[in-house]
Amino acid sequence: MKQAYSIFTLVRNALSYHQDWQEAWRSPEPKREYDVLIIGGGGHGLATAYYLAKEHGITNVAVLEKGWLGGGNTGRNTTIVRSNYLWDESAHLYEHSLKLFEGLSQDLNYNVMFSQRGLMNLCHTEHDMQATRRRVYAIQMNGIDSEMLTREQVQEMVPILDCSPKARYPVLGASLQRRGGVARHDAVAWGLARKADERGVDIIQNCEVTGFDIVNGVVKGVQTTRGAIGAKKIGIVVAGHSGVMAGLAGFRLPVESHPLQALVSEPIKPILNTVVMSPQVHVYVSQSDKGELVLGAGIDAFTSYAQAGSPPVIENQLNALTDLYPCFSRLRMLRQWGGIVDTCPDASPIIGKTPVENLFINCGWGTGGFKATPGSGNVFAHTIARGEPHPLAVPFALERFTTGYLIDEHGAAGVAH
């Protein structure tokens, strides 16, 4: 068992100058073989490993991460968590995840700072209102909290928002998910890693998968920058690099990798207590616990593996930001960055089997998979452990692109997060 984290252990350790804290996770040498290998040490990969160990008793598991754990999109997203998706399939999956988020800090004994401060989607046109009403009512009938707000209610919750009718994008109303909010992205990855490690999972960083050993259509292991590693089953959870992994395994995916950019302002005292998204004008803003405004932008159109996008995207986003929140104009951008998001034609993820036996994939979360981290890991662990998809994952199999049963979530929130 790991040393527990609590106010008491914190005080106790303070007395010994914090000299006695254990490492949050080990850094073991890779073994020759595992029952299950998870490629990708992002939130989803770590969650998969964690739930494999926790719920399926499979502990001879390694997570292989080419860089530092949590360094992919998990470490660079705008941390929005919500489950207000249009289609039943998505709503169920994301709600499953939201529920796991609600107990995650306790489950992991690691404060992931899940802050259910409420999340708003602004509507700027009648058409927006229509689409939003439809989504809100569908979510309600799925038994998930969601409500429409009038312009006056929006103004009351966010006084600094320009809700006047003369705005270029006047606010007509909004949808609100009160249980939505933000969580600390790094803490999610680290908490999962720590707990997975506690249950025996090997987390192997700086270990890039460079090839697959496939015999007669059955995967037997991987080649890595730290040597060959065998496995009975392998799960690919590499987000932006899914296409690359598929290529190494000899198949293609309906996935394209694009830059998605984000930025933060300098920290200031609390000024915004809700997460406010405005899909139509591509501005998503929340204020982190440290005080920065965290802003998400729209996706860059081109394919890229550079974790960097183009400035017009940022410019457009800030134009709209300063227009919606005229008092933000004097704040300053502190840092901007990008991640590589794996987008599917229907803006929904892919979870399930691949053309290669015993090789599973979990990808296509695109611009919005952080909120799904525990849920995705949970259903993927089930899928790998049983060799059959978790009921919530069934609709998200690759086959949907063949049958045409797409789960088109483009409308769910414009494009992002």
């Binding site: 700072m113 799925n142 134009n319 104009s329 045409g404």
Partner: protein
Amino acid sequence: MSQTNRLNTGGRIDRSRVVTFTFDGKSYSGFAGDTLASALLANGVRLVGRSFKYHRPRGIVTAGAEEPNALIQLGVGARTEPNTRATQIEIYDGLVSESQNRWPSLTFDIGAINSLIHRFIPAGFYYKTFMWPAKAWLFYEKFIRNAAGLGKGPTAPDPDRYDKLYHTCDVLVVGAGPAGLAAALAAGRTGARVVLADEQSELGGSLLSESSATVNGQAASAWIADALRELGALHDVKLLPRTTAFAYYDHNAMSLVERLTDHLGPTDGKPRQRLWRIRAKKIILATGAIERPLVYLDNDRPGCMTVSAVRTYVNRYGVMPGRRVVLMTNNDSAYRVALDLANAGVTVPVIVDLRAEVTGPLAKAVREKGIEILAGHAIAKVHGEQGVKEVEVARLSDDGKSVTGSARRISCDCVGTSGGWQPTVHLHSQTRSKVKWDDALNGFVPGDTIPGQNFVSIGGAHGVFDLAACLTEGHVAGTTGALEAGNGGNAGSAPTADAAAEEQPQRPLWIVPGEKPVGQGGKHFIDYQNDVTAGDVMLAHREGYRSVEHLKRYTTMGMATDQGKTSNVNALAIMAGLRNVDIPSVGITTYRPPYTPVTFGVFAGRDKEDFLEPIRKTPMHVWHEDHGAKFEPVGQWHRAWYYPKPGESMHDAVNREVKAVRTSVGIVDASTLGKIDVQGPDAAWFLDMVYTNAWSKLGVGKCRYGFMCGEDGMVFDDGVTSRIAENHFHMTTTTGGAPRVMAWLEEWHQCEWPDKKVYFTSVTEQWAVIAIGGPMARKLLGEVCTDIPLDDASFPHLSFKEGTVAGVPARVFRITFTGDLSYEINVPPSYGLHVWRAFMQAGEKYGITPYGTEGLHVLRAEKGYVIVGQDTDGTVTPQDLGMDWIVSKAKPDFIGRRSMLRSDTKRPDRKHLVGLLTEDPKVVVPDGAQIVEHLKDRPPMTMLGHVTSSYWSPNMERSIAMGLVKNGRNRMGQTLYACWENNRVKMKVTEPKFFDPEGARVNG
């Protein structure tokens, strides 16, 4: 007494101009040319702020952009600005500044309690606690949020305005130190188009802080003046002081921000800042280097600063940062500063040198001045809570890991330290080019340049500090850069300087040991602003956060507003020591834009409010405006939505408009519909491919409605297309879809079927479109147009004619979106208003009623006509809409055909568009309501689909709705429930045709 610490002579400030300002409510004076930092120091103010987490008293550490501590709340009211660096604020009369993150006052701050409980709140403490009870985080969070955040944001709209522009040049030089100036001179002389930008108010870089350097045999300041004069006279050279290059984007695009009036204080009228988006053929990075402070015990006491800051304050601003200045160094640069201090009359009680032995000409000169050098010593402790009072200096053990022997107490009010220099590689790194470790320099220098970018780093920015070498490098870079950009003119000769004195190597000692073990009482600060100490780095290491990126995120090291300019290398070097690996294998965190924080407003420039996005207006817009129309945005267009008369609600107005069309005649502005002219021998073939129905046999003069599908078989646009001539079609599209359809056609043509002979031209705005409809439409048209026979036989439904309407040449289409007899009259837009008025005038006797998009939507819904984008959402096939008839069975191929054969798309029980009638005809359900077959007490309930369109139909005198319902066509007559919020309403499934189901009314 004011300006107690101002030297009597020297510096570049203008002593003839006294400037008064306030700090924390107290009034001070300084001189023009001062920064807020230099002016405060001149007034003996050392304590200027409180740190982020522990609320420790903090002073000014640097003299530049790298300042981690002296963050100020500048200005008041709507113009207040948090977190500005005192070292970069130029003072002006009336400047108001305040310290941040303290309450009730800077000297007595309640928050400093955090400093007392500091032991309980090490790096990452919040991850370990506040977890119980499970729902309480929101409660704890409130306190944490209030404690964090430094300054306060304004809450009123920004009264200032901003400017932004594009610029292209041959050579962009960033940094106007000796290297940058030499580069700009060389490039400028060749005739190249040059931009020279520097973030400081004066160009000259580190030379401005020099006391004795000479260039071309003259004093550095004289050379700078000459150089600027020469550059100023060159026509194609732009000098941009107060301009920070903050982002280096792909393909040599650089973004810079110029501060135009910040140094003047609030000014109305002029833009405050300007965004330069420069594309340069060659970029020369001459951004110099940043000095690292040493990491020693209690190194955050106000009065502790870098040696280069000490030098800048003394030489450039004529300010004594202290009266007794102790210097501690691991390299020679402190010696030059000691000499400057001595010359200025400031006492330097000792130089503490971490190196065991100190030799060389500089040390000799210092000793000659009577300054004591304590080699192999370290500052083991600093006294003075709110300002340095005294240091304890002790001998270093040989391994440098501890101090030994008894400490000597030396009183002083300022400590300058130098831990060596880190080249300012930020912009280089932003291009994703690598950096490499330089052992001699103990810093990262630029590595290879990433392909696709064309730039070079020179001078301090790539680790070359010798003035003569900087000048030569600048000259060479300027000359070659200009040449690469096609300028072969004479670059003149390079400026020269004397070679620098030989320097002794530095001693890298990343933690200067103090009287207590690191991390156990006392603090060795690395990142001042975020309160990250050497102890925190050790804790991170202990807990496994060993990657430099984990270190950063776990401790927040380098994540403050200074982005670790002074701290990153110190931190990772300490981590390297703990991990027992060399520094390059630890690596450095990623440099990202911006170099220093940039105002959001400057990105927006003037693209605000009305200018954020164009509003497209039709030729008749002014008429609609004059007649009280409410407008609805559709894409970028503003369309008349409805025309309320005084006292009318929207409901009233729409009902009146809708009824008028059915009883007499209505008129609507349909100019926004997309129109594409399609011509060529293969035009019909092409339409056959892009529409689901067949076009080849459409007669000349006839019109037909069509659906366009994506290759996935889903409807994405619709419209009526007419055959003008054998090889000539006039296509219409939805308003919002127009650009997309045009792009779609050209994409298929150019990429897939380039051999097909067809041309597309967007003619949306070539025609203003006025649609009149209703029983009186024919009569009315007949009065305004006399040269087109309007009887059914000559001009049947779904055909078009050319003629003259109200004296204007027109194309008249007999098509309808309301189900009533209607005509769409296309006229040149310059006559649009005239023709519209003509109809209004002639129609008066019929009670002609203008109607807007809302009325149009009701009218079409009464007929069950779909709106793509409302009744469809990208997941709907024509078959789903019950419009099999529009999908040709005879055509071998069209876009989307193959996808319609997939197992899911051909399922018979997909969602179908059906009519939905509420049991109670008075109830209008909202669109978006969900359709449920079996009600439960409460959700979740299984949904069959949703209401896509729902209106009050004044002509049916009941509500009408359409919806997409699973297996809907096979549910005719069934009763289902529309559900939303807590409402449950019974609805019967019907055909989606409510009014005039036989379609008799198109004939009037």
